[in-house]
């Protein structure tokens, strides 16, 4: 029999003030833009200045998110057996600077700092260096299923007794060149949209953003733990008419039906070209189930589903669904079983199942 996987600690740095685990979306920051930057915690209180000066934004966000998750799990850093990170673009800011240095300086005078930080796995590496973890260190770069790939790896390792405590997370940072190119190809909305109007924008593209979401997973349930990770499954390609069937099969594989789900978290991002993937579930299989969305708050990025994972944990923990998240008015007395569905531009779909424990 495989071991259960508990979520003992959660940490988030996002476009909302989520770095304070004591509160749960009590103070919503309303944006009106086409790109959203994170609300930065005071990095200096978490990272020594000498170390921080060489860290890209993505690393700083991840370090803080990690520390919050470890603090909540009440776990010493040296207990972590493995560090697994999902990222769509890594520390793309330094990658861009490094490439620009190559061009501007005619392939001469390249400095080490930007090179070190221009690899995708620098986040997992820096976290490991910071905590002196010499265990398994892996980075998944799988577009919009990067986070789920990391979670799946951690889950399998815990189930198979290859590790006892795993730090797993997703991170992506927003930088100018990335914004410019994605605006040019129409993946970012052309006009600013107010936070609560994202779903009604009626335009193509999404509001881009950034964030870091880290979690301490273990087969040992900590006193602070409220949530179990039941299952996660990814698909690179699904057509719209396959989504409901795949969701149903996913539930059946876990001995559940759509009636067993108390709440679905859907990754609607206001892109009129691709939001109908979510409609398949919202108007079909789960039309009588409570539904929430979140990308109006945290924006779209490759590991935005990390925010959904954080959200599912918070909803179960607080037994509360903030109104700002609601897609419908179906009432539930006690959210126990949550299904998360995410995709980006019709590709890289994921289903994640969380349960109160």
């Amino acid at each position: 029999m495989t071991r259960p996987v508990y979520i003992n600690g959660i940490g988030s740095v996002s476009a909302q003030k989520t770095f304070d685990n004591a509160s749960f979306l009590e103070d919503i920051t309303h944006h009106s833009d086409t790109v959203l930057n994170v609300i930065s915690p005071d990095y200096k209180t978490h990272i020594p200045p000498a170390a921080a000066r060489r860290m890209a934004k993505g690393i700083k966000m991840s370090m803080v998110s990690t520390k919050i998750a470890l603090q909540e799990a009440d776990l010493e850093e040296n207990k972590i057996d493995a560090i697994i990170v999902g990222t769509g673009l890594g520390c793309i800011g330094d990658s861009e600077k490094f490439v620009m240095d190559i061009i501007d300086n005619n392939e001469q005078y390249l400095t080490p700092t930007r090179f070190i930080q221009s690899s995708h796995n620098t986040v997992a590496g820096q976290i490991a260096l910071g905590m002196g973890c010499k265990g398994y260190n892996f980075t998944y770069v799988h577009s919009a299923i990067s986070f789920e790939s990391a979670i799946l790896d951690a889950k399998m390792q815990l189930e198979n007794k290859e590790a006892d405590y795993i730090l797993v997370g997703g991170v992506d940072e927003l930088v100018n060149h990335h914004i410019d190119t994605h605006r040019l190809i129409g993946h970012i909305k052309q006009e600013p949209v107010e936070t609560m109007a994202v779903l009604k924008s009626g335009t193509k593209g999404a509001i881009f953003s950034e964030g870091a979401h880290f979690f301490v997973l273990s087969s040992e349930k900590s006193p602070s733990c409220h949530v179990e990770l039941v299952a996660v499954k990814t698909f690179n390609n699904l057509s719209k008419n396959q989504v409901s069937g795949k969701a149903q099969t996913f539930l059946e594989e876990n001995n559940l039906t759509s009636d067993s789900i108390d709440l679905v978290i859907l990754g609607y991002n206001g892109d009129i070209e691709f939001d109908d993937y979510y409609d398949e579930l919202a108007n079909g299989l789960f039309s009588n189930t409570a539904q929430v969305y979140y990308k109006h708050l945290c924006g779209e990025f490759d590991t935005a589903s990390g925010f959904a994972f954080w959200l599912g944990n918070k909803i179960i923990r607080h037994q509360d669904i903030p109104e700002v998240l609601r897609l419908n008015s179906v009432e539930i007395s006690e959210p126990k079983t949550i299904l998360i569905y995410n995709q980006y531009r019709g590709e890289n779909h994921s289903f994640t199942l969380l349960r109160k424990c």
Binding site: P49, A50, R53, R54, Y109, T111, T113, I116
Partner: protein, 85 residues
Amino acid sequence: MTELKLELKEKIIEQLNLEDVSVDDIADQDPLFGEGLGLDSIDALELIVMLDKDYGIKLADPKEGRKIFESVETMATYITENRSA
């Protein structure tokens, strides 16, 4: 020389991301490594590249760097004597 020292301090702060350090915090004779500014080996590489790129000075022997990068004063002296850019 005074201008060059000021320029070096500004470049060190900018290129090494010394966010909390101002030009006034760096005295001409302060050690750059160890107990002074606390720079490390990666910073040394950044400074070697800076000498080459901004002042046209290539360090043939990296061990020379130990003396050259002792302080802003020693850097300025070396640059004044060897600069080609």
